[in-house]
Symmetry: C2
Subunit: 336 residues, 2 copies
């Protein structure tokens, strides 16, 4: 298996819950495509999830298999993509340790992404050291696999900047180009809102449709979707902007012309929410049905899933061990 | 090899230079004794030395073998003590990573030892993240080997406190007594001053006598030793306090009565510096001569030394891997 001149992508998910349609639109769909064009490492980021889930480690570790099931169910092919469990690649912890010496505490505290996340989590002065330093672990993940491309949201750009700073600092220190800089790949997909109209779909906000949702759960979620609160009668003109049902149709209905027509009709008036919701329900049912079926099938053969994860993790370890041995070699840390 | 009910000691040295008589008096001599009574892990702390030696990695790694030679030359028996190279035990980096989540940045910044070291190194706001967090790595070293006793200077007591805090926090989080608390063993030996009379003997201050010093170097160092600047003529009464020659005689002359007599004579007057220095010179020559000879012999068989380090490191890895697997097991991080 050679990947000469193919881009190498590193991406993944914190394992804090099963994935939902937001993940599908934001990343999973692209990953299924990209696995044909690039070498792709998919990180089940349990170690990273632990940095702000002390005491909730069971949740983190139990969801490793759930996220893996989601990956496989949507069509990630473990022969094409390397799915790995972060905590099972000790080379990442080692590499992090060396990178930690190359960044100051003040620089980590200036990272706008971390600043915002600290604010969101209400850590204030009680920031766990593991949380403040997780961008360094992330840099280790990226550089261990020599990733050239990292898909991120624009709020994550400072992470890539920090990674590349560490790469340059390391290479400068050892006077050899050991580590590789990466570039951010910004997604051009609009973020899928929650069914309540909030900007972000999130399991913890209770506004998500998971990839394992049952037919009833899907229908209920669609019926609960936030539309235009002023669109009271079918004949009223309705607003499409901020209307979750249309945001979902934009994301999931491949027939763009049809969506465009529906929007015009809705704006003019005469198109009831229930009609559009029924169409969306059908669309989502037919999208999720095969995913759910495949997921159930895989879940019944847990041994096979574990074995897929073991193989992916071993493959990933080989790649990471190679980088680590170059890093340690450059530092003079090869005694035996 | 079982060690039931025997204390387990973790100790070691940053590998930034060959060891000197200060190390011999402060720790090496005790280690040679303790290896008969306790299980002893001796850490060649290259990873820790790197936290404040970015760009000087060659110095750190080259001194690993020098410090190992010193250990072996003074009589550390690799069959009785486990000598290991820190960077070659990846389990330590992994364990650190989990412990990092259990301490806040603010708590690390409050550590008095770190505060003082930051001041000494002039880091101010440019504290490398690896340096601020090294007490956590140290806690990983201690707990990985289930050390029950850690010899420290009193300036290092906050490190032991921090370690035990992490132990309690971890055990509380996983609701199992996985890690073991340790206790500090304060040395009852007075610190050996530098030959210039400064409180601390240190290679970088140029006031040290190394364990590999040549006969001429020893004689020169003794002749250069700071005595009593007011003791101008032999007949003058001299002061023993702050007199480096007597501090050395206290440390190295086993005949306590003889030293006591010499002190009285010196205090009365009539005992010249050159006479006392000659005695000390003889004492140090006979102490260092066999160490130097053994060191040279070992240095000529570098392959054997490397092989000793490899065996010690492998033995240490087994012990650390056992602890790590319990730690990961308790967190639920055992998937395969």
């Amino acid at each position: 298996m050679t990947y000469a001149n193919r881009p190498t992508i590193l991406t993944g998910d914190r394992t804090t819950g099963p994935l939902h349609l937001g993940h599908y639109v934001g990343s999973l769909r692209a990953r299924v495509q990209l696995q044909h064009e690039a070498q792709q490492f998919l990180l089940l980021a349990d170690t990273q999830a632990l940095t702000d889930n002390v005491g909730r480690h069971r949740k983190v570790t139990e969801n490793v298999i759930e996220v893996a099931l989601d990956y496989l169910a949507v069509g990630i092919d473990p022969e094409k993509s390397t799915i790995l469990i972060q905590s099972q690649v000790p080379e990442l912890a080692e590499l992090s340790q060396y990178l930690l010496n190359l960044v100051t505490v003040a620089r980590l505290e200036r990272n706008p992404t971390i600043k915002e996340e600290i604010r969101l989590r209400g850590f204030e002065r009680d920031i766990p050291a593991g949380f403040l330093t997780y961008p360094v672990s992330q840099a280790a993940d990226i550089t261990a696999f020599r990733a050239t491309h990292v898909p991120v949201g624009d709020d994550q750009l400072p992470m890539i900047e920090q990674t590349n700073e560490l790469v340059r600092r390391f290479n400068h220190t050892v006077e050899q180009p050991v580590l590789v800089e990466c570039q951010a790949v910004l997604s051009n997909v609009t973020r899928l809102p929650g069914i309540d109209g909030k900007a972000k779909m999130s399991k913890s906000l209770g506004n998500a449709i998971t990839l394992s949702a049952s037919p009833d759960e899907i229908t209920k979620a669609v019926n609960d979707m936030y539309t235009d609160p002023c669109h009271l009668r079918v004949s009223d003109p309705g607003q499409v902007e901020g209307n979750v049902v249309f945001a979902f149709l934009d994301a999931f209905e491949p027939d763009v012309d049809k969506v465009s027509e529906l929007k015009s009709h809705y704006r003019r008036g005469g198109l009831g929410d229930s009609v559009v919701k029924r169409m969306l329900d059908e669309r989502l049912q037919s999208l999720i049905e095969p995913i759910r079926a495949r997921r159930r099938e895989l879940a019944d053969d847990r041994g096979e899933v574990v074995s897929i994860l073991r193989r992916g993790t071993m493959r990933a370890r080989e790649a990471a061990a190679l980088t680590l041995s170059q890093v340690k070699g450059a530092l003079g840390l090869s005694y035996f």
